[in-house]
């Protein structure tokens, strides 16, 4: 393997081939540059790294388990299936890894207030949690559609002391929440850090989020060597903006034998307009600070997206994934609502795990992939989150009325 030249290192350039960059209003540039410098600086700071590791171990419950799903492996009759259990983290998803990193950085930069966007509410909950832990103020921007369908997470954030701002502009979902959060940050950056929830946005966010989420594959690679005696055959993760996937892939990118597969949300089908399958259907464009793939119309207006999963319905994707697909290093598949809901029910019955509907998109692909493989081969599938938040929506999808009064 050849080390990347510094002129090509995305850590420094913010570029993944043609993708990435810093396409933001000038008013945001000074703060982004400060953030970039601080991030680079604290990456080299042993004290910062030690404090982050301590928080991950003693607050977030890391390392997360690498669990051998024996019943599911036997039932599918092919590869051995392992789950990387990010659902067992404090706050119930991988989002906490990234928030602890970014919030600790914010604290070092002297910030007193955290703001964030959220779709399903998991990133908002993680941000509100860490704000409480650090004694910081917290404002969360969430599309009005999402505050309605994820009311429980809204209340959770409020319990944690955050203020949740329902966003009524545009289509009132995740992309609109990001617009509002970026605007709020532009208006007030001196004491405020914007905690980006996925491996998206302007540099340095994609590289920062990747760095803080890489703990997933750092652990799973070692666990795989310890428990299996070798590297996995394939790593599978769901892709919204791509943070749990890039974290799950990062430490295997230089292991060419390990197949990397991202699962995005096809919604009602990637041939229909009711989809969020950016890698499958998107075109190159510039939005939310990055050059990447986006679902958009001919003129370049960003398209409304749909998925049963509030965490996957984003019209773009992190720039590194676009580059990984382009070079063939990773493959991306689209999973429909129906397939994801069936997988949600399957893993509950076969393994006793209620996983997030986002993660169920990855499980659905494992159900297809494992039977095509040999029993001496293995798949690590990241369970990015737990599914308590989704139970009511799945019941509704199945036409079951729950008495919640």
């Amino acid at each position: 393997m050849q080390a990347a030249k510094s002129s090509e290192d995305p850590m420094l350039t913010g570029r993944y081939g043609d993708f990435g960059g810093q396409y933001v209003p000038e008013l945001l540039m000074p703060e982004l540059q400060r953030l970039d410098q601080a991030f680079q600086h604290y990456q080299q700071d042993p004290e910062f790294q030690a404090e982050l590791t301590d928080l991950l171990s003693n607050y977030a419950n890391r390392p997360s388990l690498l669990y051998h799903a024996k019943r599911m492996s036997a039932d599918l009759g092919g590869a051995q299936v392992y789950f990387k259990r990010e659902d067992l983290n404090h706050t119930g998803a991988h989002k906490i890894n990234n928030v602890l990193g970014q919030a600790l950085l914010a604290k070092r930069m002297g910030k007193k207030r955290l703001i964030a966007e959220t779709g399903a509410g998991q990133h908002g909950v993680a941000t509100a949690t860490v704000a409480a832990l650090f004694g910081m103020a917290c404002d969360i921007y969430m599309g009005k559609m999402d505050t309605d369908r994820q009311a429980l997470n809204v209340y959770r954030m409020e319990l944690l002391g955050a203020t949740v701002h329902p966003v009524t502009a545009g289509s009132m979902v995740l992309k609109d929440a990001i617009n509002a959060a970026l605007q709020a940050w532009t208006a007030r950056a001196d004491d405020t850090a914007y905690i980006m929830g996925s491996a998206t946005g302007p540099h340095p966010f994609p590289v920062m989020v990747r760095t803080y989420q890489s703990v997933i594959s750092q652990e799973s690679r070692q666990q795989s060597l310890d428990q299996l005696g070798h590297l996995p055959t394939a790593v599978v993760a769901c892709v919204g903006g791509g943070s749990n996937a890039i974290g799950s892939f990062a430490n295997y990118i230089d292991d060419p034998t390990v197949q990397l597969i991202g699962c995005e949300a096809a919604g009602k089908g990637s041939a229909t307009p009711l989809t969020a399958a950016t890698m499958t259907c998107g075109r190159p464009g510039i939005f939310h600070g990055m050059k990447s793939l986006f679902l958009q119309d001919d003129a370049g207006q960003i398209a409304p997206v749909y998925s049963i999963s509030a965490g996957l319905d984003y019209p773009g994707v992190g720039p590194e994934h676009v580059q990984l697909a382009k070079t063939g290093r990773a493959q991306y598949v689209a999973i429909t609502d129906d397939e994801a809901v069936a997988a949600f029910e399957y893993i509950a019955k076969v393994e006793g795990i209620i996983c997030a509907i986002e993660s169920a998109h990855a499980v659905a692909y494992v159900q297809k992939l494992a039977p095509t493989m040999r029993p001496d081969q293995s798949i690590i599938c990241t369970l990015s989150g737990r599914g308590d938040k989704d139970v009511a929506a799945i019941a509704k999808y199945r036409g079951v009325t729950l008495n919640e009064d």
């Binding site: 810093q22 933001v24 209003p25 000038e26 540039m29 464009g285 939310h288 001919d298 370049g300 207006q301």
Partner: protein, 242 residues
């Protein structure tokens, strides 16, 4: 005096009459904003106008057609403001050629900072089209000067959102710019005649932004109101300049 108009709000024909009216009332230049689905650099007034314009079916191709119609009635300078993705999808070379053909003097791209301008600026320059940058009141002098060194057309000074620009807040960055450039410097002003005339004492021009867009949104006798407002501002600004 410069004014912002969101193209297509409320429709093609009325945008054409609005711009022609502004020209006749003494406006020096109109910044025609191409509506975008997600105008992150704009406040709620322009966001709402963009939404109305998109509902009316406005596309970048139609905005060029509006300029063609405007050009039959006035030679007033016109500048387009468009988010990067709209230019990217249209094709930078095709966009530049179209601007050249319609005598559009320059383009403002709110989400294309200095670091990213290299992919567009040479293509525009080849057609003689300026890429006009924005600087903030909190932009450091060093950065402002780097922006000025790469600038063509004019430089627009913006206040932090939610804070109206003042003579005091804009003076430092303007002084830094003046030290290295002869280009005209304009300030985006969101407010009243009094504020605009004060700003005109430190800048070469004042852009009436959301105030104009809001006036257009009120819908009743828009053209006569545009005329009245433009004439009043024009007079006040001329008086303060001389």
């Amino acid at each position: 005096m410069l004014s912002t108009v969101v193209a297509g709000d409320p429709n093609f024909e009325q945008t054409v009459s609005q711009v022609v009216t502004l020209a006749q009332a003494g406006c020096d230049l109109v910044i025609l904003a191409v509506p975008f689905s997600d105008p992150v650099a704009d406040g709620p007034v322009v966001q709402a106008a963009d939404e109305r314009a998109l509902k009316a079916g406005t596309t970048p191709a139609q905005v060029f057609a509006m300029v063609a119609a405007i050009r039959q009635q006035t030679t007033m300078p016109i500048v387009l403001s468009a988010y990067a993705n709209l230019l990217y999808q249209y094709g930078y070379a095709a966009f530049a050629a179209k601007c050249q053909a319609l005598a559009i003097g320059g383009v403002i791209v709110p989400d294309l900072p200095l670091e990213e301008q290299g992919e567009l600026q040479p293509t525009l320059a080849a057609q003689g089209i300026a890429l006009m940058p924005q600087v903030g009141t909190t932009t450091t002098p060093k950065r402002a000067q780097a922006i000025a060194a790469a600038a063509t057309g004019f430089i627009e000074v913006l206040a932090t959102p939610g804070q109206a620009p003042t003579v005091t807040s804009t003076q430092p960055v303007i002084a830094a710019l003046r030290a290295v450039t002869e280009l005209p410097i304009v300030i985006l002003s969101e407010t009243t005649t009094v504020a605009a005339t004060e700003l005109a004492t430190v800048a070469d021009g004042v852009v009436i932004g959301s105030t104009m867009v809001q006036l257009i949104a009120t819908q009743s006798s828009v053209l006569s109101q545009l005329t009245a407002m433009t004439k009043a501002l024009r007079q006040a600004l001329d008086a303060s300049h001389h």
